[in-house]
Structure formats: structure tokens, C-alpha cells
Assembly symmetry: C2
Homo-oligomer: 437 residues x 2
């Protein structure tokens, strides 16, 4: 029995679905290269023994706080369980403590990472071939990939230096509607976005909510990096914290704040859904129905680890990530300082200056494609991410993404030295070719 890729779902032939695989394969192929590519969290603080402690902490919570008997504890941790999860009350407390958000725990679905949350939301919203999703570009490739699997077209919304071009957003909504399409939502990361690093300022957050309400458009707010400001500025409120009209579906991740290996994320979906019989439910309950047929429920063992971390820090991830925040801020500063030294004023190389998060985008005077990444890894020993992976249109992009999350200052120094050589080599090589013709 042999299959042909053309007989499988079209997404399997799509670059968006190959993007992560490609980047992982390049990294595996050049294990000695310095990697400024991976958006993984810092791993020096991981402790195996802490796993046991988190599990014990959560078990005590079930007994002492929730009054569960030993049999109930076993059932909670070992059996099939509540589709919407078992740490929803702790997630709600976390959102209250860290974000000042008041969230009904019943409006939360705990998911297998934020990726599943995204997938469930898109599956529920994509009802018809006329449905399209808007997404602020450049866009996290996992969003594009999930949409592809669901035959949901993604239309880009332009980015400005303040995150989202509101006029373009309104224009895209109107354009789609004039074409007979239904824009179901706009996806965006308002804080230290992946990959742009950009954050939306306060005034634009309110304007964005007003626009969404006027246009009757859902916003899908993804917030994996919000706890990592680099300076001492107060963090801005999330869109969901400002949302008075249930306009925002909020996606949360514990991958960057607790650990990726738990694969625990969540979605807050407090929108009311009117049923065929006129009865209303929460969108979260509809997402749970989808989830029951995708993964049944999120591993209670994995949830227990995340729950243990939350319980040990009074449900504050700001408190839980104090050490990591210092590392990320230091690394971000070290990277931008290093860029200044290596590419002085007048250089054709420019870069963004994010106020937090993991990512800096470097613009170079040549298009950056996958072949160049291979050359950079092979000849210069340094890995980064071509920004073209975050656009969906195949147009060449003269930029690359650098990540500071899983490296030391020494890695950054070595990596930037090599990137400087690589850029110089490219510029010289292209100059030589140009003059040879």
C-alpha cells in the first residue's frame, strides 16, 4: 500500500506545515552552531526534583483545599477527567493576581499547550468556506498551520511600529465582506509579539477594542510573552482585561512561564453562544465539545505539575518567573548592545528595539531565505530564523529573527560575531557578483 501526498489533506504539501520541521531539522543538522533561532525558554533553572514537589503540592491542594478523599485524588489524577480541565480555578486566580482580570473559571478550557487552544478556536469558528481569519502579520507560524489544517484562509493585517495598523484592519474587514467573505476574528499578540517583538500601546488597545465592537469582530489575543518586560515599566493591561463586551478570546500558555514539557495552555472564551433551542452556553463549552474529540482532556498529571507551580507562588507567575525575567532582560540588552557595536550607524543593517520578550528582528540588505540559513549554519556556525517563515505570501523578506531566550551572554557574543561575518560575506559576495556582470 503506497499513498501519494496529493491524496492527503492539502495542508501536508503547504510550506506553513513544513516550517517548524524545517527549522528543527536545520538545528539538528548543525548541532555545533550557535543558535539564536530557538524561541524555547531558558533551561538552566529546570530541576528534575522539583517535578516531585509540584506533584506533591498539587496532591495536598486536592486533599486540603478541595477536600478530596484518597480515592478521589486517584480518580482526579489517574482517570479520564473534566474536559475543561482541573486547574481552571488556579488559572482564574492567576489571571486575577497577575493581570487584574476577573474570569469565570467555567469560561476557561485547559488545553494541550496553547497550540490546541488555537486549534479548537479556529475549528469552532470555521463553519463555512466563506469564513476567513485575519491575522496581524508577521504571524506566528503555528497559527497559520492550524488554519491550513482547517481550510481556513488567513488574511494578513499590516503591522506598524505600534503593533497593528488599525486602518488596515478595518480595510481588511470591509474588503473581505465586500467579497462575500466572513472575517471571523483577528489574531494578534499585543505584548512582545512573536516574531516582531512589537507591543501595542495603551491608546491603540482601546481603539482596537472599539473597532472590534463596531465591526462585530472577535479578537483572538495570544499572550505567551507578556510577563517578560525588559525594563521597569509597568506592564500594559491585556486586551481581555480591557474587554467589557466579550469581544476577546484570550489564549494563555504555560510553556514560557512554567515549562514547555507540560504541554498545558488554556483559552478564556466567555462569549455567549445561543443554541438552536434558544438556550445559551459559553463558547468555552462549545470548545470543550471540540476538545473531547481531539484529545479528550488535558493530562491531569501535566496539569498537576503546572498547578503545583501556581500553588507554590500564590498563583502568581510574575513571582514564579522572577529569575527568568532578569535573564531575558539582560540578554535582550546584551543583544541590542552587541548589534550596535557590530553594525555602527550608517550600516545598512537595522533592528527592532523591543521593550521585552524573546525576539529582535534584524533587517539586512539582501533577501533571507532557507538556503541562506543553511549557508549561515554551515559556513559561519550560527542559526537564526528567516522572517519569511512568518509571512504567508512567498514574497522575499530582507530580515531574520534573533531569539535571546535560551542562550547566555557568551552565546550572544559568539552568535553576533558570526552573524556580522555572515552579513559582511553576503554583502561582499553580492557586491562581487553585481560588479562581475
Amino acid at each position: 500500500m503506497e499513498l501519494h501526498v496529493d491524496d492527503l489533506h492539502a495542508a501536508l504539501g503547504d510550506p506553513a506545515l513544513n516550517s517548524m520541521n524545517f527549522l528543527n531539522e536545520v538545528a539538528q543538522h548543525y548541532p555545533d552552531a550557535v543558535s539564536l533561532a530557538a524561541g524555547r525558554p531558558y533551561e538552566e533553572f529546570f530541576e528534575f526534583s522539583a517535578l516531585h514537589r509540584y506533584l506533591d503540592t498539587f496532591r495536598r491542594h486536592l486533599v486540603d483545599d478541595l477536600g478530596q478523599s484518597p480515592g478521589q485524588v486517584h480518580r482526579t489524577l489517574f482517570q479520564y477527567g473534566r474536559t475543561k480541565g482541573i486547574v481552571h480555578h488556579l488559572v482564574a486566580r492567576n489571571l486575577a493576581v497577575d493581570e487584574g482580570m476577573t474570569v469565570d473559571p467555567e469560561a476557561i478550557v485547559v488545553t494541550v499547550g496553547c497550540q490546541e487552544a488555537m486549534f479548537l478556536v479556529l475549528r469552532a469558528l470555521r463553519a463555512d468556506p466563506r469564513d476567513v481569519l485575519l491575522a496581524v502579520a508577521p504571524t506566528y507560524v503555528g497559527l497559520t498551520g492550524a488554519a491550513r489544517l482547517l481550510d481556513l484562509a488567513v488574511r494578513p493585517v499590516a503591522t506598524t511600529e505600534s503593533g497593528v495598523d488599525l486602518a488596515d484592519l478595518r480595510g481588511q474587514i470591509h474588503r473581505a465582506r465586500s467579497e462575500g467573505l466572513r472575517p471571523r476574528a483577528c489574531y494578534l499578540m499585543p505584548d512582545f509579539a512573536n516574531p516582531s517583538g512589537v507591543s501595542i500601546p495603551m491608546s491603540d488597545r482601546r481603539a482596537l477594542l472599539d473597532l472590534a465592537q463596531e465591526e462585530n469582530l472577535l479578537l483572538i489575543e495570544d499572550n505567551p510573552y507578556g510577563l517578560f518586560p525588559a525594563g521597569d515599566d509597568r506592564r500594559l493591561p491585556t486586551l481581555k482585561a480591557l474587554d467589557t463586551n466579550r469581544q476577546v478570546i484570550y489564549l494563555g500558555s504555560f510553556a514560557k512561564t512554567v515549562l514547555p514539557g507540560a504541554r498545558v495552555g488554556y483559552v478564556v472564551a466567555d462569549q455567549r453562544v445561543v443554541g438552536a433551542d434558544g438556550a445559551t452556553s459559553l463558547l468555552a463549552d462549545q470548545l470543550a465539545k471540540v476538545k473531547s474529540m481531539v484529545t479528550v482532556n488535558t493530562s491531569p498529571l501535566a496539569q498537576a505539575v503546572v498547578g503545583g507551580v501556581l500553588l507554590e507562588h500564590g498563583c502568581s507567575l510574575v513571582a514564579a518567573t522572577a529569575r527568568e525575567r532578569v535573564v531575558y532582560a539582560r540578554n535582550l540588552r546584551h543583544l541590542t548592545d552587541g548589534l550596535v557595536r557590530r553594525f555602527p550607524a550608517g550600516s545598512s543593517v537595522r533592528w527592532t528595539a523591543p521593550t521585552g520578550g524573546f525576539f529582535v528582528v534584524v533587517t539586512v540588505p539582501f533577501p533571507v531565505d532557507d538556503a541562506l540559513l543553511h549557508r549561515s549554519a554551515r559556513e559561519y556556525g550560527v542559526l537564526w530564523t528567516p522572517m519569511a517563515h512568518f509571512y504567508d505570501d512567498g514574497i522575499p523578506v530582507h530580515a531574520l529573527r534573533l531569539s535571546v531566550s535560551a542562550v547566555t551572554p557568551e552565546d550572544i557574543d559568539r552568535g553576533l560575531d558570526r552573524i556580522a561575518e555572515f552579513v559582511a560575506g553576503e554583502v561582499a559576495g553580492r557586491g562581487a557578483v553585481a560588479s562581475a556582470y
Copy 2:
């Protein structure tokens, strides 16, 4: 912002997606009822402290057997990881030890429970509106629900006492093709099926594989209960063990053999897929691409728990489940003996006599719907599952499913007493109504 269910994906209005929710809600609504409904594994042997031991065992395996450094151990367990999983080599060893199957570990994708495995396979195979899935009916509702989410029509194949009506299977394939449709695969559980309890005899296994090869049809073999024969008979080989032509996609679950709360399952997909460029890959690699956009990867912490159990039993789940097998066999005997005593020969009540697994189907002289389940719970204090949930056509079914997996012999006695009263009440009530007209 308010949504209407009609604006969401059509599956959300479908009975198949509400089935699990409905059954869970009934169970929660009548907590004091005896439940012969739940297909959960036996929970008396669960031990919280064993979780720590499994994690430690798996950590030692990473260090001692795979030579990982402490940093690599942290990365394996805490970080994002291999999309196809980190216990694939142990799963392959398990299949060799327990099933005599030789499986390339690279052809295995470790998934978030068997449900995700099912979902990934259906997503990959459903490329076109002409695609349909065949499934031996009655069918596990999770299969139907997953297919609904993917707009994949499911066509039933008739069951005989030996599991699958081969003539009907061939007829369904031809009928679909003559309608211009593409039957992509046939889903079935050859061993102690949920819900029918039926197993396919050896001769039919070979005939089924021959038919699949002749018709160029994939078989999706789901095997959650195969390790639980009730007698001393040798277990039959799986279809995949007999498969010489890569005709079978094999779905595995650790929910019934290790613990549901790990949410770890897997798929063996060793089919070759020819790409647009002529290069071949394994179907497992295509499924991994889908998975990367659904859940990224399966929690390595959850995999470590399953890995620890496998390692502690020489990768034999036959060995790991010795105590449970005794319980299930005893309960199944106790249930069928109890049915004999309560419904003597000549009664209009009949039941299946499975040779293993969790389930017995009881046929009664009246249609069994959800309203009757409510009445049984409310008035008689006993829960079971209406067989109508496992058919997709809305036709009334005169049968209910009893499960023996999560109960004691005393529960079975009390449950059967109540079912006998319930059946008597229904028969009398209906007789009264009939004679009143």
C-alpha cells in the same frame, strides 16, 4: 458579543459531539446510582507514590541507557521535544514483546491519547469532499465525533457475530465508489470491541486483510482492549501483526493498560507516502506534521510516566496488567452469570458473551433512548449506556451496553438487580399502555 451555534462548525450541533457530554452529565447528575456505564479502567490499584517511581525510572533510563547528560535530561523532560515522541523505542519494544510485531520506531507517532491518533489519521486522509470513512457499526463514538469535526462522512459496515460482515464491507466499498466517492479506510476494533464486545476470528482476519489489499483500502485497527481476554485462550494476532502489505494503520492506547490520566496513545503508520518531488516519507511523518499544528508534541512528562511503567515491566503490558486482567475476567463472568440468573431462558432479554474486554450488550424488548437512561438512573439508581449512541443513523436501538471495568462484583450484583427491576417495569408499563389502547 454574542454568537449563534449556527455560526459555528456544524459538528457542534451534532448528536455525536454531545454524546460524551450527555453521558458524563447523567453520571454527575445521579452520583449515587450504580454505574455499569463507564468504560474507565479499574482504579483500585492506582498509587500516587508510583508516579514518582515511574518518573525516576524513566530519568534513569535516559541517563543509563540513552547516555543523556543532566542537561539533556532536563531538555528531554522540560522543553519542547520530538514531535513523534520520546517513548517510541519503548512502544516498539512493547509491540514486539506483547504482540510479536516488528515495528520501525520511526513509524510511530506518540499522541495525546488514542483520540488524537484517530484525529490525526482522519485529518491526513480527508483531502476532499468525496472522501468517506467506513466504520464497523456499532462504532466508538469518538471516531464518529472526530470525523464530524473534519467533515468526513462515516458509512457503517455491518457487524456479524464474528465482528465484521466482509460481504457488506466489500459492498460498501463498491457502493461508495459507484457514487463517485473515495472510501479512504475502514475503522474497526478486532479485539473485544467497544461497544459490541465482539472479536474477529483468525480466519476472518486474514480474509479482511486480503479484501483490503484487493480493494486497495486502508484498515484503521484500534486496539484498546486486546490485552484483556477473559479466558485462558491464546490472544489472536492483531491485524497489524498479520499485515504484510502496510495495509493497516494501528492505533494504540495506554489509557486502559497504564492510566487514562497520562493521555498517551500512539499510531503506527508505516505506509510510504510519495511526495510531489517523488521522494518518499512515512505516513507517520505526515501525521507528525499535522500533530505539530494540533498539540505540537505529547507532554514528555506524561510520556515519562508511561515509559516508566513500560521499563518496570520489561516493556510488557501483559505483565504490567496481570492484576487488572484477573479483575476484568472475574467481573465479566460475574456479570454474565448474573444475567443468566436474572433473565432465565425464555426471557425476552438477551446478551452477548464476549471472550474478553469491558463490555456486554444487552438486548431488551423495547427501544432504549436517553430518556430511558434518565428514568433508569432516577427511579432505579442504575446507569448504563444506550446502544443508540454507537449508531449514527438515529434509528431506535433495543439494546444497552454494560461495562465491567470500574466496578466490584457487589456493584455488579446491585446494578443487575436494579436493571432487572427497570426492565420489568418497562415491560409491564409498556404492556399496560399497549392494553390500554
